[in-house]
């Protein structure tokens, strides 16, 4: 490793602009002649739309135009597409109802857009929207998943409220295994609904150029090429050649900025209608009711065990909330990103899972940091603690006993995945040591003296990321491939621009990718620029999600570098009058093996563009290469998270006093960035476990609709973390990398809740649903006290 190569904690190249206020986020962009959009949204959860009278609003000061769903339909434009088809148990396709850009005929959740007002200023658009008269006839509200399947429930879509009823695994084998069980552990649990809340609210600018016929959309997206594909092909019928999508600096995504949203299509389409650019910037309150939410499962799980506590079979039944419409990736999250993970790090030979996806009158639900894998991990790691309790076994021992051994890889699970590498005993041992697990009881006793209930919890998790092998996901219903593309342009004097389809919105790609190039070519990272986020610059890309940027996007860069080096060697061989086979690239120089004859990288690049002395008969001038990389398998990070909490029994307040995370993320390119990714994931995982939850009332009204009621983790809610990596290498990509973006959010929630339950165990508590708020804990303790008194 060089000072700037793979393994070095290089300080980030992108930081200067962010630290000096020179970042360039979508709302920072203003186009000449720009107008502003405001969306009139439904304030009721379920209603039929009668007449929409916009005549008064149209006359309000500054109004340029008003459009409704009828205008969109009259123009022959489509609805928002869903990117994944899941099939029912009987093989029939899921119910895939239309998802109009602007509501047509009905509104189905609070926040469903009904009309858009385009005006000279944002406030004028807002003023005018209040003058639109919409006749709504309210319908019974399907507020919860339980409501959705009640006999006689109102139908949100013509096909009813079930999107699909899917399963995976061998049901008969599972039932047979349960019959042989020595003991069975059971658990009912809820995985609480979350609102992603990237700090930058979504924004979009549509800009149609009448002179060229080109549309440009500036948008807060994790994957501009995907938006171009979905919006161009399915919604607006604009060919890629006339549609440019730019995702400039983006202020966090966490999944919520993967999806193609109505506002993007609206401003793009309407900018041609009004002949001026249109900007829309989301209010935070609006983002609560228009960004896709995350999680929201209700599950029942059972584990069959033999007399030694070995897991024989797992069966799971889950209801997953889709919200009112299918968001882009929604159907895949509770199926292929969830149920396939239920083997976890254990040798459980049989797993059977049934998942029903339901529509409700709530905001659409889709991928949020971890997407399906946190739900699987929470269920499994909570259940394993119950297994230990059921068997009267130690929580660590039962895990060790069921781990997939480190010599068993590649390991085929009963739920489709084949793990390539891992060492779960090693990450466990390391975490136990760092957390001083052995010394815990003394800390518990000391806390007791202070009147505090102290608990410790563990989670040994696994996830699948680096999505994804196109053929595999294609067979599972994905309507796109999930490869990645990189283009490397070496300039004449030896500086390099890397064009990548993986957008960076906090992950530090501009630094990590530069390190890959610096490591390979032996040049300084100061000579390397990483360009992302503009479909006119980058050949193609599937974007950033599922912890794929290094495993898939980074590998595409490596493949492009292979081609660059290969060609450069040919040029060097010519200049050095040697055979290409004898040329080595060493410390930024092309050397004839075993000699001191060498050419610097800059000399080769110059020759490529000024080919006066050049192998022109066999090698084209120029030094620029593109590679597409389709991964062979998922990658499988895993690890061990240990949480220690103290609960104040007087108030129910839980404080995380110690958190240890040891993660196997494969090879680490930049340890500083890797640690930062883990920290952020932990904050979101601890947030889910203790603080955050999205609450709807029975009328489909959002009760946690702002930061006044949705508890965002703040600096004083969290401790500093002890994080470490303990890696095995991925076997199927050249870097050996696995991915780190989501591990923190996947491993931590069960560690926290296991700790809370451990702290409360002596009061009789066996389970608590997330978030374990003070009020909830107090109520549990209080009922326990009352029960004890009775």
């Amino acid at each position: 490793m060089g000072a700037e190569g793979i393994g070095a904690a290089v300080r980030r190249k992108e930081d200067f602009r962010f630290l000096t206020g020179r970042g360039n986020y979508t709302d920072d962009i203003n186009r000449p002649g720009q107008t502003h959009a405001y969306f009139l949204r439904s304030q009721v959860a379920h209603a039929t739309i009668g007449k929409i009278d916009t005549s008064k609003a149209a006359k309000a000061p500054g109004v340029v135009a008003i459009f409704t769903g009828a205008d969109f339909a009259a123009d022959g434009k489509g609805g928002l597409p869903c990117g994944w088809l899941v099939k029912n148990k009987d093989g029939s396709p899921m119910q895939e109802p239309p998802h109009p850009v602007l509501a047509q005929g009905k509104v189905r959740h609070v926040g469903d857009p009904i009309a858009v007002v385009i005006a000279e200023t944002r406030e004028q658009a807002k003023d005018a929207a209040e003058l639109i008269d919409v006749q709504l006839t309210e319908l019974p509200v399907v507020g919860t998943m339980a409501d959705a399947v009640k006999p006689g429930a109102a139908k949100i879509h013509d096909g009813g409220n079930v999107c699909y009823d899917w399963h995976i695994g061998d049901k008969d084998a599972c039932e047979a295994a349960f019959k042989k069980a020595f003991k069975v552990a059971k658990l009912d649990l809820v995985n609480n609904r979350l609102i992603p809340n990237a700090m930058e609210p979504r924004a979009a600018i549509g800009d149609f150029d009448r002179a060229t016929g080109e549309y440009t959309l500036y948008t807060t997206s994790q994957n501009p090429h995907v938006i171009r594909l979905l919006m161009g092909a399915f919604v607006l019928q604009i060919p890629e050649s006339r549609l440019r999508v730019v995702a400039p600096d983006v202020g966090g995504g966490f999944g919520s900025k993967i999806f193609h949203y109505a506002e993007e299509a609206t401003v793009t389409w309407a900018s041609a209608k009004v002949g001026r650019p249109i900007k829309w910037t989301c209010d935070r309150a609006e983002s609560f009711m228009s960004d896709a939410h995350g999680r929201d499962h209700v599950s029942h799980a059972e584990m069959a065990m033999d007399k030694d506590g070995k897991f024989l079979a797992l069966r799971v039944k889950t209801d997953a909330n889709m919200g009112a419409y299918l968001s882009t990736f929604a159907p895949a999250v509770p199926t292929y990103l969830y149920a396939t993970l239920l083997a976890g790090v254990y040798t459980t030979p049989v797993v059977y899972a049934e998942v029903r996806a339901l529509f409700t009158n709530t905001v659409p639900v889709d991928a949020y940091r971890g997407a399906g894998r946190p739900e699987a991990t929470f269920l499994l790691e909570r259940l394993v603690d119950n297994c230990a309790a059921e068997m009267g076994m130690d929580r660590v021992e039962i895990r060790k006993r069921n781990f997939i051994p480190s010599d068993a890889f590649p390991y085929q699970t009963p739920v489709a995945l084949q793990y390539d590498s891992g060492d779960y005993q090693a990450t466990l041992a390391s975490a136990l040591k760092i957390s001083d697990w052995a010394g815990f009881e003394a800390r518990r006793a000391e806390a007791k003296k202070r009147g505090k209930l102290r608990g410790i919890g563990i989670s040994t998790y696994l996830e699948a990321c680096g999505i994804a092998p196109s053929a595999v996901v294609g067979s599972l219903g994905a309507r796109a491939g999930l490869y990645e593309c990189a283009n490397i342009r070496v300039h004449p004097t030896g500086s390099v621009t890397v064009f990548t389809g993986c957008h960076s919105h906090g992950q530090g790609h501009e630094t990590t990718y530069a390190q890959l190039v610096a490591d390979r070519l032996g040049i300084s990272i100061d000579q390397i620029e990483v360009s992302h986020g503009d479909t006119n610059k980058i050949p193609f890309g599937m974007g950033t999600y599922g912890s794929r940027s290094l495993a898939v996007g980074g590998t595409a860069i490596v493949k492009a570098l292979d081609k660059i080096v290969d060609k450069a060697k040919k040029i060097a061989a010519h200049l050095l009058e040697a055979s290409p086979a004898d040329i080595e690239l060493k410390d930024g120089k092309f050397v004839v093996a075993g000699t001191d004859k060498a050419k610097a990288f800059g000399e080769i690049s110059l020759a490529a563009y000024v080919p006066h002395n050049y192998p022109i008969d066999t090698v084209e001038p120029g030094l620029e290469e593109t590679a597409f990389y389709d991964p062979k398998n998922f990658t499988f990070p895993g690890g061990c998270h240990i949480c220690e909490v103290e609960i104040d029994p007087d108030t129910g307040v839980t404080k995380v006093v110690k958190f240890t995370a040891v993660d196997d993320v494969g090879r680490v390119v930049n340890p500083m960035i890797v640690e930062g990714q883990v920290h952020g994931g932990l904050a979101q995982g601890i947030g889910q476990a203790l603080l955050e939850t999205c609450v709807y009332d029975g009328n489909g009204q959002l009760r946690s609709g702002s930061y006044m009621d949705y508890t965002m983790p703040r600096a004083d809610d969290l401790p500093s973390f002890d994080v470490a990596t303990q890696s095995t290498l991925c076997t199927h990509n050249p870097l050996g990398v696995k991915g780190v973006g989501e591990v923190g959010a996947i491993g931590s929630p069960p560690a926290v809740i296991n700790a809370v339950v451990d702290a409360l165990r002596e009061t009789g508590v066996r389970h608590i649903d997330m978030p374990a708020t003070p009020a909830k804990i107090w109520a549990l303790l209080n009922s326990g006290r009352r029960a004890a008194a009775e």
Binding site: E123, K126, D127, A285, D650, T651, G652, L691, V695, R703, S704, Y707, M708, D709, Y710, T711, M712, T773, P774, A775, W778, A779, N782
Partner: protein, 263 residues
């Protein structure tokens, strides 16, 4: 936000005149509650009368057993005041726990009291310490001032000039934060003054109120143990996604004991 006319008078008299001339005008103190309210279009004043240029509305003085704070004095200034810390440390601590540092640099005591948010901190101090609220036309005892949710004894166009707090023998404020907003889910201010023991509770109900049972118990002996067995009633308390009325009632007891212990 709806648009409005903006005025910045230099004297209380001018401010009162402007407010009197337009029933739909609103006074603007630190703006930390009013501006978010306007942004959400929950209010539509025709005019905003900014009190920020009225010099004699801000300031702190301690004299005659009283701490007097001008209506436009910022929370951060009360929290940092050596005089307040010495005379009424509980009040300085309360001010230092309102909102966050940036909010404390703008928010004012007058604004907080005039707004009477059910979860605001200052009303608890006023009520527990038996403060006197001085307006442009009269003096109002705290017991008569806080009338209900966002409701006070102030007439239309009447402005708070200052608030006087009698110095207490012992006093402390304990707040249990609503986890999201960080307003008080329950805040309890206890004070032992020459006039007796007073206990005020904020956050738990529609408006700040005195907990008379606790006052009676503490009057006998000002010690946390005196509150053993004294239970606040859950009847009439707020219930929301952050806590039931029963939980709030329980927290009132816990916070009161902690306040007594800290006083």
């Amino acid at each position: 936000m709806y648009d409005f006319a903006y005025h910045k008078p230099a004297s209380v008299a001018d401010a009162v005149k402007l407010l009197g001339a337009d029933g739909e005008a609103k006074p603007l103190a630190g703006g930390q509650t009013l501006i978010p309210t306007l942004k959400q279009r929950l209010a539509r004043p025709t005019a905003v009368v900014d009190l920020g240029a009225i010099k004699d509305l801000a300031g702190i003085s301690v004299a005659g057993g009283k701490v007097t704070i001008g209506a436009m004095t910022k929370h951060a200034d009360v929290a940092a005041s050596a005089d307040v810390k010495k005379a009424l440390p509980a009040l300085a601590a309360l001010a230092g726990g309102i909102g966050d540092p940036a909010v404390r640099h703008r928010g004012t005591i007058g604004g907080s009291i005039a707004n009477n948010d059910p979860a605001a901190d200052y009303p608890a101090a006023c009520l527990a310490l038996g403060a006197t609220i001085k307006t442009n036309k009269r003096e109002i005892a705290a017991d008569d001032f806080f009338r209900g949710m966002f409701e006070t004894a102030l007439d239309a166009g009447e402005l708070i000039v200052s608030v006087s707090f009698p110095v207490a023998e012992k006093a402390a404020y304990m707040k249990f934060d609503q986890p999201a907003s960080r307003y008080a889910l329950v805040g309890v201010f206890v004070a032992k003054t020459a006039g007796g023991v007073r206990v005020a509770v904020t956050g738990a109900a529609a408006s700040v109120f005195r907990w008379k049972e606790a006052e009676a118990a503490l009057s006998k002996s000002f010690a946390a143990a005196s509150l053993d067995g004294v239970k606040a009633s859950a009847s009439g308390l707020n219930s929301d996604i952050h806590g039931s009325a029963e939980y709030r009632a329980h927290l009132i007891g816990v916070m009161a004991k902690r306040a007594v212990a800290a006083a």
